[in-house]
């Protein structure tokens, strides 16, 4: 990942702080998505030609990405462009509000772009058509190759303005790419934009790799690799490609995750048939044992303030979810429902824990409060697990496997997402089969 690829120059042309009439409520399933018109961005005729792509259609392409992002939320209904009533450059100056209202649009996005001296300058505006006023106007400059990210950042700004919450479009997903038959799967670490574009493979598939997870700045991924047939937790620098083993443990280490400050990795270490939870300080390499119990303790995840850890243990006899202080004291079981519970992950907002539940041979993804109350099961299937949170804590991504026949045919592994409202379940497109997704934080903050 290119570090700060972005010189994000947000010059706020004007900010209308008064409460707009249109808002989108994202706390419930939205059966009445907001009709929004996304005008193609006007391409300035002074723009230079760029060899790698077509400049003249860039404005239209950016608007299509914004529409696709909006549609994927289930909260917005992007209107068809053939009904649009004004030319992009004229609408961007000042829309004829009453004309746009005629096509039932409530919000309008306009913009223009200019490529000069190998810089892409983009400007966009969000208009409240009901109140007939401008809600957001921003401009920024970047290199032309970042044009997809421009579309995602615009989407985030609009989402933020209309919902009151930060967006999740300028983000990436790290995951495990899977190919080959079920009993000889080839697995590689992969990375893609949240909309499925710009897929990159980070390992070659020579050894089994599992469970990649981003660090808070999205530059590192920690994961499990069977390199030399020794399952150990590794660290990968996405930019340089350098991999290193984390900790010299005399046995399998697995289930790694970063602490919220990025300074530690928490993981399971299995020895002599017992898995306990350990943390390692990445700078000092000091290892600390956090749980000490003759049962399986795994899948640890910190609370966003770093004070607590939720984890999975079978100390009661079967898999349940526990919470403890991050020094290992005050261990408390929080799940008591019928069935097994695994893969707890703390929401970035701190309020909820997402989990996998197995009951009567069916698999559920659910959320509950961090004291275990208020359990809500969002989706049921033959097999699904490993939820990961969107950076705003509103959407979960997870993977789902299908049943296979007696020859192993019919098997697939795909990434899916669902809103924590339980609505808007959708499959994410990936180049290959995919599992173990990890959602990055916002790339530009």
């Amino acid at each position: 990942m290119k570090k700060i690829i972005f010189i994000l120059l947000l010059s706020i042309l004007s900010w209308n702080s008064s409460n707009a009439l249109i808002t989108v409520d994202i706390t419930r399933g939205n059966l009445d998505p907001l009709p929004i018109a996304v005008s193609p961005l006007h391409v300035d005729s002074e723009s230079e030609k760029i060899p790698s792509f077509e400049t003249s259609t860039l404005g239209a392409e950016i608007s299509k990405i914004i529409e696709k992002n909006f549609k994927s939320t289930g909260l917005f209904n992007p209107l068809k462009k053939d009904s649009f009533v004004q030319k992009p450059d004229i609408a961007h100056l000042k829309p004829r509000f009453e004309d746009w209202r005629l096509i039932k649009a409530q919000a309008l996005v306009t913009g223009k772009l200019l490529i000069k001296n190998n810089k892409l300058k983009v400007e966009f505006r969000l208009w409240d058509l009901t109140a007939a006023k401008e809600m957001v106007a921003l401009s920024f400059t970047t290199t032309p190759n970042n044009w997809r990210r421009v579309a995602h950042i615009i989407s985030d700004k609009i989402y933020e303005r209309l919902t009151g919450e930060s967006g999740y479009f300028d983000t990436r997903i790290a995951y495990v790419s899977e190919t080959g038959p079920k009993n000889q799967r080839i697995k590689k670490l992969a990375l893609m934009d949240q909309d499925g574009f710009n897929t990159k493979y980070l390992t070659l598939g020579n050894e089994l790799v599992l469970t990649p997870r981003f660090n808070p700045t999205n530059q590192l991924v920690t994961y499990l690799s069977y390199f030399k047939n020794m399952p150990r937790v590794y660290l990968l620098d996405i930019e340089t490609g350098i991999q290193e083993v984390v900790g010299n443990f005399p046995g399998m280490t697995f289930a790694p995750r970063f602490s919220p400050d990025g300074k530690k990795i928490i993981m399971s270490f299995a020895k002599d048939g017992n898995s306990d939870i350990y943390s390692m300080d990445l700078e000092t390499r000091v290892v600390e044992q956090i749980t000490k119990h003759p049962s399986i303790d795994t899948s640890p995840s910190y609370s966003p303030d770093g004070k607590y850890i939720t984890f999975n243990s079978d100390r009661s006899g079967l898999q349940q979810i526990y919470v403890m202080r991050s020094d290992g004291t005050q261990v408390k079981r929080i799940t008591h429902g019928s069935g097994l519970y695994g893969t707890p992950v703390w929401s970035p907002r701190g309020d909820l824990i997402a989990f996998t539940k197995v009951r009567k041979g069916r698999f559920y993804i659910g959320v509950m409060r961090s004291d275990g109350t208020g359990e809500r099961l969002l989706t049921e299937n033959f097999y699904q697990e490993a939820p990961s949170w969107s950076p705003n804590g509103r959407v979960l991504i997870f993977y789902r496997e299908t049943k296979s026949d007696s020859k192993g045919k019919g098997f697939s592994a795909k990434l899916w997402s669902i809103d924590i409202t339980g609505y808007n379940e959708r499959r994410l497109k990936t180049e290959t089969d995919a599992s173990d997704p990890s959602w990055s934080s916002l790339l530009s903050k």
Binding site: P231, M252, G273, K403, F411
Partner: protein, 158 residues
């Protein structure tokens, strides 16, 4: 004549149906006992009369009587062949979460290792590795396949 032939065909069909259903019921009772696979379909041998693998109940790592019997045979074979080293591979079925299954596979492999050590094999000759649900021997999604995949396999390492 024709009528007779038809009757005869009918009998053949009826008889074979009976045979098939008899087979499938018989097979069921042989394949698993108390959720543990007891068949021989996937089993390979380290030496004559020394099976390479043992099977487990769902989410369990307890050794059954049959497993202990197999492991004693493995221990005897290893005591006779003193230069042999082995890796015990622990596996889980696909019906659990990935990370828990990795831990479970490790626990199963160590249950086998501990028993081999009790019967006089040095721990230095036995390494363990868990593959969790990553390496099914039977790729089907059926209770039979899952019971065959809940296993630990002793593999010659040298």
């Amino acid at each position: 004549m024709k009528f007779n032939k038809a009757i005869k065909n009918l009998f053949i069909v009826l008889f074979s149906t009976l045979l098939i259903s008899a087979c499938s019921t018989a097979k069921k009772s042989v394949d698993t006992v108390d959720d543990v696979y007891t068949g021989t379909d996937t089993v390979e041998f380290l030496a004559k009369g020394v099976p390479d693998r043992i099977f487990f109940a769902t989410n369990k790592s307890k050794l059954t009587t049959a497993s202990r019997d197999t492991l004693r045979k493995q221990a005897t074979w290893m005591r006779k062949n003193k230069d042999v080293t082995v890796t015990v591979e622990g596996h889980a079925d696909e019906r659990g979460t990935r990370e828990y299954n990795l831990a479970l596979g490790e626990r199963r492999a160590n249950a086998a290792k501990d028993y081999l050590m009790t019967y006089g094999v040095s721990g230095k000759r036995i390494s363990v590795i868990s593959y969790g649900k990553e390496r099914p021997v039977n790729p089907a999604s059926s209770p039979l396949a899952w019971s065959q995949n809940r296993r630990s396999v002793t593999v010659k390492a040298n």
